[in-house]
Symmetry: C2
Subunit: 416 residues, 2 copies
């Protein structure tokens, strides 16, 4: 029998305990040994919980108990969770987590510590909730050189954008609805501004390219400036707007970003709606593979945590850990040096002369007309592919022109 302790009896932590109880028989069968939750650490009281007898407020009950060999960390954040994870690994206990912030910020150190102590630090649940992605990326696609990952990695923003598209709600209204349904937190900043997706693409990239990708170096832009009009323009291009996390091998370096993007209906990500997540991985042998499912939620995320626990028990003794070498702190290409196409909306004084100016500044562009009546005094177009640095200059140039009142929005166009 293997004893597990769960740190943090919140949504995911209580889900872990629930699944181990509910599917205990088949879990033990798959793991080859009985798996048992011996202790739960939480500072709160849960007098009505069926698990109340397992709950302790004293970490020593867990860290000093040699019979507890696997720690499930579902506290979240990089504060006390960081300390507990280091303590556990140092004491030779395996750690399984859903904590993307901790993995994205302290991954290399914790993986090294795990290796030194001959234990595992696994985090399947940190990306894509219950969608199997970390292990497939690391194991099943191991024969491939992976060179691109594109994903919808945040359910909150995808729900909001889906509501804008389907129901014609504006951003604020859709956000409020997401909060009412529990899909967005009271302070939705981490989701809305793309930080959550950024941590996840950093983790996936680190696994795929076998070197640490620091989320602090990834350009990140949220969805708060996406309007209903942008969505309608996208529709008129047989496209939609999604918050896309992307990373790509370019020579020895990595181009990565999180930003809203125009996604064509021929791209499988186009159809990923509401709180669902999806990740497309491109490898040299496999081509495109997509993983799709619920990217968050109590039981989906908890099931990924428990799968990691089973993995450790089944392969007891052989480290299935990762090795994130910090090969190069400078491995991310500056966003300004990456190339993309932009969808651009201008408020103009005079359409005719503004069109002429756009032609002069941007060269050949694809003009975009909104379905239906269209908007007065507006021009919209898609630029050619060139560097972001050059785009910035062109946006400045066009913005200064007399016939242009304002650049209403610029949104990246997702390439193939």
């Amino acid at each position: 029998m293997i004893n597990v302790a769960v740190l943090g009896y919140g949504v995911v932590g209580s889900g872990v305990v629930e699944i181990i109880k509910k599917n205990g028989m088949s879990i033990s069968e798959k793991a080859g040994q009985k798996i048992c939750v011996k202790k739960i650490l939480d500072i709160r009281d849960f007098p009505d919980s069926p698990d109340r007898d397992l709950i302790t407020k004293n970490p020593e009950d867990i860290f000093e108990d040699p019979s507890i060999e696997i720690i499930v960390e579902t506290i979240g954040g990089a504060g006390v969770a960081y300390k507990f994870t280091k303590d556990a690994l140092s004491k030779g206990k395996h750690v399984v987590t859903s904590n993307k912030e901790l993995v994205a910020t302290h991954g290399p150190e914790l993986l090294k510590l795990a290796k030194e102590n001959n234990v595992n630090y696994l985090f399947e649940a940190s990306v894509g909730g219950g969608i199997p992605i970390i292990r497939p990326l690391n194991r099943c696609l191991a024969a491939n050189e992976i060179y691109r990952i594109t994903g919808i990695l945040n359910g909150t923003t995808n729900y909001i954008l889906s509501q804008m598209k389907r129901e014609g709600k504006d951003f604020d209204e859709a956000l409020k609805e997401a909060q009412a349904k529990g899909y967005a937190e009271a302070d939705p900043t981490a989701d809305i501004e793309g930080h959550d997706a950024c941590r996840k693409i950093a983790i996936l990239s680190s696994i795929a390219y076998n070197e640490f990708v620091d989320c602090n170096n990834i350009y990140t832009e949220g969805i708060s400036k996406i309007s209903l009009e942008d969505m309608k323009y996208a529709e008129s291009m047989n496209s939609t707007v999604k918050l896309i996390a992307l990373s790509e091998k370019v020579g020895d370096k990595i181009a990565a970003r999180v930003s809203p993007a125009i996604v064509k209906n021929s791209n499988p990500l186009y159809n990923v709606e509401n709180v669902f997540n999806a990740i497309i991985v491109k490898g040299d042998a496999i081509g495109d593979v997509m993983f799709y499912g619920r990217g968050a939620g109590k039981l989906p995320t908890a099931s990924a945590v428990v799968a990691d626990v089973i993995e450790i028990v089944k392969h007891w003794g052989t480290s299935g850990g990762y090795d994130w070498q910090v090969k190069n702190q400078d491995n991310i290409i500056d966003i300004n040096d990456t190339e993309t196409k932009f969808f651009v909306r201008l408020k103009v004084k005079d359409e005719y002369s503004a069109k002429e100016v756009v032609g002069k500044v941007f060269g050949d562009v694809e003009w975009v007309k909104m379905c239906g009546d269209g908007l007065k005094d507006e021009l919209a177009f898609v630029t050619g592919k060139t560097s972001e640095k050059k785009h910035k200059r062109l946006f400045e140039t066009i913005g200064e022109h007399d016939s242009v009142i304002q650049i209403i929005n610029t949104i990246r166009v997702l390439g193939d």
Copy 2:
């Protein structure tokens, strides 16, 4: 260093050798040891192949060589491949294969033999080509009770149906094109008639439900009777026709079938086009997860084979094998006792009286009108959900009625 031998230097076998050469460095890094192809068995001559020095016609060069520890079987079929696999496992060599026929027919015996000899028999490549599905199903979703699998598991038929839908080609024309492009074999029976998809859903079900599901017990119907008109009717229901392989836990038993089905556009399988495959797995914790990618082809399939080889090397000594107990030969529910809805097309003498008869025989039905002009003397409708046995009786009854000239087609409707 670990020596591998490849049996069968065909499409997949030569792909395996190519990938191990091309991505050798990173493969060795991931496996923790260098992996090397020492011998290739084939009865043919390949004087121009870069691997000609490795090719032998004598199986003993491989089976009697104790330095060869892993055998890759890419011969296919259940003839000589069966014998070689048994020989290899008996001699304590690990076997990795893409051979779905062999796994589906002799899986339990070969897995038992592997276990007895403390080696692995792995077959990630047997389903979904390069799409990671077997390992995710077995490992990453291990914390779930899986109760449903729905998939598009055959690229040939999906290509044909996509061409019918998109290009308005009829079945014969689309099949010829598939053959010309190398997506269908000269004798396309195994694909067209659903046998290939049947073997694959049998393998997935055996993994998911942890008991052997015999493909011979699964009802299988191909796509050759699907017409352009059927496709147009489906479109008018915001649906399309796909060859769907399905299996589902119903109490202690399993309902399974392979057949064309009407798939709604809200189902993620609706958007899976051309040679792509996709598999939706439903688990009690995770909900729906979908895996999507190229279901066939040299390098995708070969990359799945190589991933299995890496897995064995990485976890040397700990068996990651499956254990397919033949719990019950009678574990599949008779198709007649399963429930479904049908889409039905009737050729009728007189619409008015035929409608009346349909109402009397089937009760409430959903009438379906084809977009555009529609077809003269035809009625089309979707029945309520009831057993296939009862449906058969109702089809007989309606067929005998004076106002009905002919039942043109009946196609199952995929439920949620």
